[in-house]
């Protein structure tokens, strides 16, 4: 008979008895494994649940299934080449990742960005915010058994992805923002496509709201579920819509503006209940505010270059390569060894759809990031799940994973 290995590894999650209560060891409460292959965990998230009947006593998240070593990889790429790695972190907010990385590099090497590039950055970032919120809304409603919302959301998301493809050639992995500006100017059809979206979308938000906002089943599943108090949110480092739904009107676009957000007029939606329904309302209103920003940015979109003129950091335009020796030298230097960054460290944070997305970037005088750390909102926000879920039903846990809007690529990096 083959020998059965009964040894439990103390370093494994299942071997760690100190994380569960005494009741679980005595067998009064039940341990249940949820995920990593589970449709409502929004990716490969594993949760070890301690249950008393159907009530959650404790949640122990186990993450890292999607760890790809992005930070390590970026240390081996030049600043320009590392942009492609940023798309792969939060795969619903690629443009936002490009943006924060470029802002960090620009701050580190002290590089200016022309106003047209900044305005286009704002337009695309806000469109991406809407598209990310649409995925959140679709999957969140799907978790609560509202199938049709999912289909509507993905219909509109497709329009945004088409705009992304028009600009960068890629629907999702855009790598469109580069240190010093954009990869290239937007195509001529861009303005019409965005205006078309602006015309259609407000009525579509009303459509989603008609399906959910006063739906008794939806209210039953979301109201008073997972209440997060403002002081807990701050103590646990929760940012973004989850923080604003708890009553703290904090938005980095307003309090520490970047990329010219100070020129645009928009409101910060807040709510005081701090429950799943409040977070839903805040995100819905955020989509409307994003539309306002896009409208304003598009109306006063300035003309001019979309890349910095500083040839030590930004490659020259193709047309110059034929007749300028200096341009050829700059082009060659930038694409073979990259540009050097001074010794020093910067931290830049932007408001991503999920919260504060920060980059800590350190240069050592060479052309590669010496150290880059991503402060990702999903990682910070997931920690609070334990607090939210305590005392709720397992079915509510599904709603709670949806409401904190995690992206596993963002957590595991």
């Amino acid at each position: 008979m083959p020998e059965i290995n009964t040894h439990i590894d103390e370093s494994m999650l299942d071997g760690i008895t100190r994380l569960v209560t005494e009741d679980a060891i005595e067998g009064k409460t039940m341990l249940l494994n949820m995920g990593p292959q589970h449709p409502s965990t929004h990716g490969v998230l594993r949760l070890l649940l301690e249950l008393d009947g159907e009530f959650v006593v404790n949640v122990i998240p186990d993450i890292g299934f999607l760890h790809t070593g992005v930070e390590k990889h970026m240390e081996y790429k030049t600043f320009e080449k590392a942009v492609v790695m940023t798309d792969r972190l939060d795969y619903l907010n690629n443009i936002g990742n490009n943006l924060v990385y470029c802002l960090a590099v620009e701050k580190l090497v002290d590089l200016d960005v022309p106003p047209r590039a900044q305005a286009i950055r704002v337009i695309l970032t806000e469109l991406q915010r809407i598209s990310s919120h649409l995925v959140w809304l679709g999957t969140h409603a799907l978790d609560l058994a509202a199938m049709s919302v999912f289909l509507y959301c993905f219909r509109e998301r497709e329009m945004i992805l088409d705009i992304m493809e028009m600009c960068s050639g890629q629907r999702m992995m855009t790598s469109y923002f580069r240190p010093g500006g954009l990869w290239r100017d937007v195509p001529i059809e861009f303005e019409d496509a965005v205006r078309q979206f602006l015309r259609i979308f407000p009525a579509r938000i009303d459509e989603y709201e008609a399906l959910l906002t006063k739906n008794p089943l939806f209210l039953e599943r979301t109201q008073h579920v997972g209440v997060l108090k403002a002081e807990d949110a701050i103590r646990w480092g929760v940012t973004g819509p989850s923080l604003r739904a708890s009553g703290v009107a904090h938005d980095l676009r307003k309090v520490r503006p970047y990329s010219g957000y100070e020129q645009y007029d928009f409101d910060i939606p807040t709510h005081t209940d701090g429950d799943t329904y409040a977070r839903y309302l805040v995100r819905m209103e955020e989509m409307r505010q994003s539309l306002r920003i896009v409208q304003q940015a598009l109306d006063k979109l300035p003309y001019g270059p979309t890349r910095s003129n500083n040839r030590k950091f930004v490659p020259p335009p193709r047309s110059e390569l034929g007749h300028s020796m200096e341009a050829v030298i700059h082009h060659f230097k930038l694409f073979t060894e990259g540009f050097p960054a001074p010794k020093g460290a910067v931290y830049v944070a932007v408001e991503s759809p999920r919260g504060e997305l920060g980059v800590y970037l350190e240069g050592d005088g060479g052309p590669k990031p010496y150290r880059i750390h991503w402060r990702t909102p999903s990682f910070a926000n997931l920690q609070v799940l334990k607090l939210l879920a305590k005392g709720h039903l397992v079915a509510d846990l599904v709603a709670l994973i949806g409401t904190i809007d995690i992206v596993l690529g963002d957590i595991d990096r």
Partner: protein, 170 residues
């Protein structure tokens, strides 16, 4: 630098004999490992830095003294200010006290630093790997840890590479 941050930095320099560094308008305060808990408590209680934004580390290998810097970013909602604390650590197996008691969300950040750099946190409630598999050897973000790659298999060396590849074989 804002007025509030000036005041904060001055207090830290006075009380902890800290040194400061400024780059691109961002201020870093250098502290000793045994001062970090007291400094964080002071910043949270007296200077309104309510949130720990981020905690990470940098490896300066082959330099040994200090080899690592642990970096904290604290944010104040009230004053809309950010401050960076840097704690230099010597040697290959350094340790410093946890700040979990001051900011509870340091729990996962410290687990990540432990996982990626092998820095031990004294008094941490649950110090185990967070992103890498539990039986992983080494700490990937250390500078003496190679990037690693997948060997390209051709017909002539398929068996040779396959034999040394680590995956579950029959």
């Amino acid at each position: 630098m804002g007025e509030h941050i000036d005041k904060t930095v001055k207090a830290l320099v006075e009380r902890f004999d800290a040194s400061i560094e400024e780059f691109r308008g961002e201020v870093s305060v250098f502290l000793q490992p045994d001062q970090i808990v007291a400094a964080c408590t002071l910043l949270r209680d007296e200077f309104d830095f309510e949130m720990l934004e981020d905690e990470t580390a940098v490896d300066y290998w082959p330099e040994e003294t200090p080899r690592f810097h642990v970096i904290y970013h604290l944010y104040s909602y009230k004053h809309n200010e950010r401050i960076r604390l840097r704690v230099p650590l010597n040697g290959n197996n350094p340790s410093l006290p946890t700040i979990e008691g001051v900011y509870p969300n340091a729990n996962w950040y410290e687990r990540e630093v432990y996982d990626m750099f092998g820095i031990n946190y004294e008094g941490h409630s649950d110090l185990r790997r967070i992103l890498m598999p539990h039986d992983w050897e080494g700490h990937p973000l250390r500078k003496d840890y190679p990037l690693g790659h997948e060997e390209i298999m051709f017909t002539f060396n398929f068996d040779e590479i396959n034999a040394r590849k680590r995956y579950a074989k029959e």
